[in-house]
Structure formats: structure tokens, C-alpha cells
Amino acid sequence: MTAEEIFTKLQASFSGLRIAEAQVKEYPTWTVPAQSVRAVFEQLHSEFSFGYLDVVTATDWSGPVSPKGYPQSPAVAIGAAAAPPASARDVFEVVYIVTALSTGIKLCLRCEIPRKEGASVPSLYGIFMAADWQEREVYDMFGIHFEGHPNLKRILTPETQQGYPLRKDYEHIPDKFD
């Protein structure tokens, strides 16, 4: 079964599923609305044997912000902030890449959510084992909440970390190690 056939079958039950304008690598790339993320992946997992979750990551699509609070090394001069590119918009995009090891198909699913405090998408915990730590990492770096994750806490940065470092508007608060 090819990716196109899977897409056609899925779109019958999930009308929000679209083929994305921008493709990620050579993978078939779809956009999926946040409310049907878990159902789509459940079906991909059970019906089409997508058993391997490669990647959960996220993108902050807001425009460039001049870095604040970092201890700048004197050799580096930060110029004026660049003009926001045409693609800048106020969203977080959660990106999933999932593989069916039996057929070798890799899919990329992108899910846009409004960029705000407490932005959330459904968790894939329980479908894929790999979702546990990868979702915690996305939470750690972007502050995106994964509804239904039983242990959503920071995984890479220490508990004393303030804010979410990979957000564009992250403001670094120097601590005793800086």
C-alpha cells in the first residue's frame, strides 16, 4: 500500500487531513488538525502498521527576536534584528515523523497550534513508546503541553530552568553558572 492510498483512506474519516504545501525531505507530508492527531496516529498504528515513531519535534514560526539576557561574548556583535520572513506567523508547529518498518514508508505529519502560553496537542503516549521522552523534550524546549501525558516534566534542562529555551522570545535569566 502506498502513501497516497493510505492518505485517501484516512481522509475518508478525517476531513481535516491535508497534503502540506511544503514537503519535508522526500517524505509524504500531511497537515493534521490538533483535535484529530491522536486518532490519526491510532489508525496509522493499528491499521497501517506504522509502529516506529522517529521524531517528535516542534517549530516556533514567529518572527526573529533579538536575543535578550545572554552573556554576550565580546567578539560577537549582534546586529539589528532582521525583518520577519514571509513565513513568520504566530503558531507553533508540532512535527511528527513516523515509519512503517514492514513497508518502509515514512510519513511526516505537521500540526499547527496557536502560539500562546499553555498551547497543547494530544499526547501519543500509549500508542508509541518513543512518544514519552520525545514529548517531554518538546515540552522542555517549547512549553507545548501534551494532553494525556502522565509524566510531563523537564527532561534535558535542570528544574531550575526558567522559560522555554527554543522559543523565539526566550529571555535568558543569568544564574550562578553564567
Binding site: 552573556p71 554576550q72 534535558l156 534542562t157 535542570p158 530552568q161 526566550y170 535568558h172 553558572f177
Partner: protein
């Protein structure tokens, strides 16, 4: 006795006898500098160079550098790699477990000052922010020969320690300094 005579300038042979007298400083410093036992401990890519220095091509053990698996038996800690803020507490804990006198070699740009991660949100800007450092070794990463040179420098420092000066067995360096003469 040949080795002892070569290494200890203050040793004396009494005429007509096999008794040797040496200043205790020289004897103890010679023993200490000849068996610099580091902790088996690496943080990042510098640790690969450190492992290469231990292995047969460079053979660190000919200098008396023999990695120990526990901080209780170690004299020196090579901080080989990037110190992230989450690793700061374990490093302080390991350092406190080492017996006095203890020494630290900060290996590579990251351990010296943060290196290429200076502007990062998660990197400690130099391991000397958390523990006192004896030798700073630049490089990214330094070659095994450079690490050997750092150990030689540390041995030079050890050979200047005196019983009078507290012998390096200072309190936990709360002030961050060693009473080296």
C-alpha cells in the same frame, strides 16, 4: 636506589654506609607526582582524547597516570568536556568525594570557559565557577600529548608543595586557593 638518587636532589649518601637521608618534602612530592591517579570521568568529545591518552599509542601509565574507577582513590579529576548546568551538581559531589590533596585539570575550551557554547542557555561558563582548577588546558579538543603536558605541569606544581605550606591538604578550598609555596 638509582631512581631515587636521580629524582631527589636533596638526598644524601652518608659516607661508608647505605643510609640515605632525604627531605621529606622531596620524597613525598616525588611519590605523589609519580602516581597521579585520575578519576575515570569524561563529559564530551575531550574524553575521547583522554581515552586515547590512556591507550597503548600514548600510554599514559608510563607517567604514573592510571585511571581509577572511584573518586575515593583518585588524586586528580580531568574535567574533559562541556559542563552543563545539570551536570554541575554531580561534579561538585564527585569532587567532594575525592580525598585531599586533590587536583583538577580543566581540559578543553568548554571546561575552561564554556568554549563555543559560551552563549548557550545551559552551559556552565567554565568549570572554575563550581570547583577550583589547577591546570587550564586549551584546545578543542586538546591532543593526548597536550593532556600529557598538562599532567607534567601539574607534576611541577606538586613538586613545589611543602609540609610547611599545609601540603596541599587544605580545607575544601572554600576560598578557592591552595597554599602552595
Amino acid at each position: 636506589m638509582g631512581i631515587v638518587l636521580d629524582n631527589l636532589s636533596k638526598i644524601e649518601n652518608l659516607p661508608g654506609g647505605g643510609i640515605a637521608l632525604a627531605a621529606s618534602d622531596s620524597l613525598i612530592n616525588w611519590a605523589r607526582a609519580s602516581s597521579v591517579w585520575p578519576l575515570t570521568f569524561g563529559l564530551a568529545c575531550c574524553a575521547i582524547e583522554m581515552m586515547a591518552a590512556y591507550a597503548s599509542r600514548f600510554d599514559f601509565e608510563r607517567m604514573g597516570v592510571f585511571p581509577r574507577p572511584t573518586p575515593r582513590q583518585a588524586d586528580v579529576m580531568f574535567v574533559a568536556g562541556t559542563v552543563v548546568k545539570k551536570m554541575a551538581d554531580p561534579i561538585i559531589r564527585i569532587y567532594k568525594q575525592m580525598p585531599e590533596p586533590k587536583f583538577v585539570i580543566a581540559m578543553g575550551g568548554c571546561a575552561n570557559c564554556g568554549g563555543p557554547f559560551y552563549d548557550s542557555y545551559s552551559v556552565v561558563k567554565g568549570v572554575d565557577k563550581i570547583i577550583p582548577v589547577d591546570v587550564y588546558l586549551p584546545g578543542c579538543p586538546p591532543r593526548p600529548e597536550a593532556l600529557m603536558y598538562a599532567v607534567i605541569k601539574l607534576q611541577e606544581k606538586m613538586s613545589k608543595m611543602t609540609v610547611k605550606g599545609g601540603f596541599g591538604a587544605t580545607p575544601l578550598q572554600a576560598a578557592g586557593s591552595r597554599k602552595l609555596v
